[in-house]
């Protein structure tokens, strides 16, 4: 089975076994793994479930992930991942992006955000502001464009 299929199998099982009837679940959504790629030797994807959306990193061949809470450095910044373990996929690391998922009207919206998150992960972070300058002087436009539009 592919990595995506394994993750989906694990979280579909969790949905049925542990999450049924819980108010925090958005019934409009389903378990889906979006955009599997390999980052520094580790399979990376976004996991959408009816109760959360996470970045997810699978282990390399030896099957072991690092500490319980690990910071990974992506171009967009340092991301805190927590370790999990499920029989289908073994140990993995996940970074919370959204939960609860009530703001997503349908699977398509969730998928669009997941894909945008993966893309944004590789956009370099904005440059630090100069000392003495308020962080607020970095405009929203400047923030979103990685500082490229600041003149």
């Amino acid at each position: 089975m592919s990595d995506a299929a394994l993750i989906e199998a694990a979280f579909r099982r969790i949905e049925v076994e542990r999450m049924s009837g819980i108010a925090i679940v958005n019934p409009a959504l389903q378990v889906e793994v979006v955009g599997v790629s390999v980052w520094q030797g580790l399979p990376l994807a976004v996991l959408i479930t009816p109760w959360c959306m996470n970045l997810i990193l699978l282990p390399d061949r030896d099957g072991r992930m690092g500490q319980e809470r690990t910071f990974y450095r992506f171009p967009a910044g340092d991301f805190a991942f927590l370790r999990g373990r499920e029989p289908e996929i073994g140990e993995y690391h996940s970074c919370a992006l959204f939960s609860p998922m009530a703001q997503f009207a349908d699977q398509q919206s969730a998928r669009a955000v997941a894909e945008a998150a993966l893309a944004a992960l590789f956009v370099p972070a904005t440059r630090p502001v100069k000392a003495g300058q308020s962080e607020a002087q970095l405009s929203r436009r400047g923030f979103l464009s990685g500082g490229l539009s600041r003149g």
Partner: protein, 384 residues
């Protein structure tokens, strides 16, 4: 913290005072500035500006009023385990009136308040701890013969900034719990204008201190959300950075106190944890500098939502969190570029960027595009 770019010889010559004043080594002082920069979500380069401001700026005069409260906010500030924190708090600010701490009593105390207000007119920071009873013309809380309402209005009139510390001052908190017999109200309600709020029961001392130091460094209060809470501290749900989050994602819940799941550190949602509806940075900065686990969920108790109006002191502690339509706030803290210390801000920023970029998610995009005009603190320099 890296010492790159910091000349120790130069600093020792130029700033001997701060070491004597605070009883700290230079390294400890810079670590403190770095911690505050990180708390505020500022890049590491802001440390220098903070250090300069703390060293050189005239300490702002602070008048601290106590109304309907338990003094827990003050206690949390003073009893923090970090041995230097209370020194810093008392030295970064000039605490000119504080009923719990000042040696003066009676008329002498009230005279001290009047003279501090007069000497620092238009420049002092007013900190309010506790709710203000408004029922029956405010007779349920009087200090020196004056009602809390009158004292608050009098002190706020000439303040440069007003900060409501703790949940009681922020929206009424515990004293406003139904049936609210004294008509306990927030600072903003009594003054009729928004103020910066640092809710929490107790609030984290670093969030208060970072707010004051922001004022000291940048001459204005930090950006706030629609409830007046500094965005650097209250932009993400407790749930988002919770150390038990992986258990939630995998559906592993403690079902009752002391069961196998509870002992294994499973998610506390089913025990009533309000993490999914409460904005605060408790899971990332913890409490009291006492190491890992030093926050409610870390030691096995569900979050009671003490920083969230309508949740803390309003909902039963063990009632399941209800799901308001939680959307990412209009602006997240900026991505922090670190010098070795990692931060938790990146995931929040990514979520915001992703939401904005994905135009298809109409609800998200609408909320992310929302201007933050509605939130203005009471400082003359408006929050961004």
């Amino acid at each position: 913290m890296s010492e790159t770019g910091f000349d120790l010889r130069h600093s020792a010559a130029a700033f001997p005072a701060v070491e004597n004043r605070l009883g700290l080594s230079r390294r400890e002082f810079m670590e403190f500035c770095a911690a505050l920069a990180a708390t505020m979500g500022l890049p590491a380069s802001a440390e220098a500006a903070i250090a300069t401001a703390v060293e050189k700026a005239k300490r702002p005069s602070v008048i601290w009023l106590h109304f309907q409260e338990c003094t827990g906010c003050t206690e949390s500030l003073l009893r923090a385990e970090h041995p230097t924190l209370e020194k810093l708090i008392l030295d970064v600010i000039s605490l000119d009136y504080h009923e719990t701490l000042m040696a003066a009593a009676g008329h002498q105390a009230e005279a001290a308040r009047q003279s501090a207000m007069k000497a620092n007119k238009g420049k002092y920071v007013l900190v309010v701890e506790g709710a203000i009873p408004t029922k029956d013309n405010g007779i349920y809380c009087k200090v020196g013969g004056h009602t809390a309402i009158d004292m608050l209005k009098e002190c706020a009139a000439d303040a440069a900034a007003v900060i409501a510390i703790g949940s009681c001052a922020s929206w009424g908190g515990m004293p406003s719990t139904g049936p609210n017999p004294t008509g306990a109200s927030s600072v903003a309600e009594v003054l009729g204008k928004p103020v910066v709020t640092i809710p929490g029961c107790p609030p984290n001392p670093y969030n208060f201190l970072a707010t004051v130091v922001h004022f000291l460094t940048f001459g204005k209060l930090p950006a706030v959300d629609q409830l007046g809470r500094p965005k650097f501290a209250y932009s993400r749900l407790v749930h988002d950075n919770c150390e038990r989050r992986a258990h939630f994602d995998a559906g592993r819940f403690a079902m009752e106190f002391g069961d196998v799941g509870h002992r294994q550190g499973y998610c506390l949602y089913k025990l009533g944890c309000k993490g999914p509806e409460t904005y605060a940075n408790c899971p990332t900065i913890l409490f009291g500098d006492a190491g890992p686990g030093s926050w409610p969920v870390g030691c096995g108790h569900p979050c009671i939502g003490c920083t969230e109006k309508g949740v803390g002191f309003a909902k039963p502690v063990f009632q399941l969190a209800t799901l308001k339509n939680v959307v990412p706030p209009a602006s997240y803290p900026r991505i922090v570029e670190e010098q070795g210390n990692s931060s938790f801000a990146a995931a929040a920023a990514l979520a915001a960027i992703a939401g904005a970029a994905a135009g298809g998610a109409a609800m998200l995009a609408r909320n992310l595009g929302k201007p933050s005009e509605e939130s203005k603190p009471s400082a003359p320099d408006k929050a961004e």
